[in-house]
């Protein structure tokens, strides 16, 4: 009796059209949440505890075992930026990417730069100390300089409305200040990064976006724990 009920429950889960596996804090999953919300798409959310992954998550993402995973009609999609493009191609309202090919290429370039360079360089500032941290700050600020210049004459990276690049850089609007507070380093100030600070304000308070921020106090606690691990003696580099 119990096992047939479980089978039915699983079948019901599989039949539900759109579901998103995420964690409360994942900056990558948050991009997908925003994209779906901006387009007014209904979906089910499954919150994962990454120290105890559900069998369903492992079934859908057996190799990387990560979030986010978006499952549409039983088919899994991985990698937040790939998922965003899929969402944009499948639901055409409130487009995340412009129509012009060179503008699209530019957007993809900056989204990738954010993940490949900006994010790791800022994380580097967070986990390092002393002279190493000073050097890391220089690199991070160089990268942020490129990002700052992209905002020249624009409210959002996408222009007047929020787009893929804004969602990709969303973590700058909440996590950056959390990391700055926890590790005691300041990366962006009004003198060098006025446009970025303005963007952070506009993005953080934007309708739909603002509904989904994870609680700041919980993030502080989480990253304080991370910071302790990284800065204790014999911490992994």
């Amino acid at each position: 009796m119990a096992s047939s009920a479980m089978v039915t429950a699983n079948q019901l889960i599989i039949m539900a059209e759109l579901k998103l596996f995420r964690t409360w804090s994942s900056r990558f999953a948050l991009r997908v949440v925003w994209a779906l919300d901006l387009k007014g798409i209904q979906y089910d959310t499954i919150f994962e505890d990454l120290s105890n992954k559900s069998s369903l998550l492992l079934q859908y993402n057996p190799i990387y075992k990560k979030v986010p995973v978006l499952v549409h009609n039983g088919k899994p999609l991985l990698e937040s930026l790939v998922i965003l493009e899929y969402i944009d191609e499948t639901w055409k309202q409130t487009p995340l990417l412009p129509e012009d090919p060179s503008e699209r290429a530019t957007a993809r370039f900056w989204a990738k730069f954010g993940d490949d360079k900006v994010l790791p360089s800022i994380w580097n500032v967070f986990i390092k100390q002393g002279k190493d941290q000073e050097e890391a700050i220089v690199t991070a600020q160089e990268n942020l300089g490129f990002v700052e210049r992209q905002l020249t004459g624009k409210k959002f990276f996408n222009g007047e409305t929020i787009g893929l690049v804004d969602l990709a850089f969303g973590w700058l609007a909440n996590l950056l200040s959390v990391w700055e507070e926890v590790c005691g380093a300041t990366l962006i100030d009004h003198e060098k990064f006025p446009l970025l600070l303005e963007w952070i304000q506009n993005f953080a308070d934007a309708p739909i976006i603002k509904e989904r921020w994870p609680p700041r106090d919980k993030l502080i606690t989480k990253y304080q724990a991370h910071h302790e691990v990284y800065t204790s003696k014999g911490a992994p580099k």
């Binding site: 991985l78 493009e85 899929y86 360079k117």
Partner: protein
């Protein structure tokens, strides 16, 4: 399209520039090729790609684009014949995810670990070939062009570090695909001379391992 309007800045031994050459060739796009002398980057390259200062850079109607996979998508959107990506959004997502292999470390001591990771990544790629001649199906597509360099470079890296990366027994589809792919005339045409490339990669490997000691 006139040749003047498309320009590619590349380097003969760059697998990423090779991706773009293949895509342009597949679509029959005329272009001007500029070979960069990488130890002495040209002011033009630095102007066109100030963020990474790397090749490839595609310049179309005076607009520069960097990052090879971004360039491939751009080419596919502007020149719609001989499409690289499929039309179905889910298939497109799978193709975009395809070249997404976790980076492996190259340092000397971690050689065994790196080789193991590389083989895992290759096995993942293998599963995308089931029932197909190319990743794109009957014709060459986005993943073929994005991953094509791996066959040649994996072979060479295997020789250089003394560990075989592509195993015909555990990766039969990949092994067959590499051979098949590299024999396609327009693919073969663009490949750099193998002996020169092996020497270049050996030198590069020496520099990398020296830097980590």
């Amino acid at each position: 399209m006139a040749e003047d309007s498309v320009k590619l800045l590349g380097y003969w031994a760059s697998p990423f520039a090779l991706r773009v050459k293949w895509a342009l060739k597949l679509k029959g796009i005329q272009y001007q090729y500029v070979e960069e002398d990488l130890p002495n980057k040209s002011p033009m390259l630095l102007q066109y790609n100030p963020v990474y200062k790397k090749v490839p850079v595609l310049v179309h109607d005076d607009k520069p684009l960097a990052e090879s996979l971004v360039i491939l998508e751009y080419i596919d959107e502007v020149w719609k014949h001989n499409p690289l990506l499929p039309t179905d959004p889910y298939e497109r997502a799978k193709a975009r995810f395809g070249p997404n292999l976790p980076k492996t470390s190259k340092k000397g001591e971690e050689k065994e670990k790196a080789a193991k990771e590389a083989r895992e990544n290759l096995k993942t790629l293998e599963s995308g070939l089931e029932g197909k001649r190319f990743f794109g199906g009957e014709t060459i597509g986005f993943v073929d062009i994005a991953a094509g360099w791996i066959g040649c470079w994996a072979q060479m890296t295997g020789e250089i570090i003394g560990i075989k990366l592509i195993d015909a027994k555990t990766m039969p589809l990949l092994d067959a695909w590499f051979k098949d792919f590299l024999e396609v005339p327009f693919i073969k045409e663009c490949m750099p001379p193998q002996d020169k490339l092996l020497e270049h990669n050996k030198e590069f490997h020496k520099i990398l391992t020296a830097a980590s000691t």
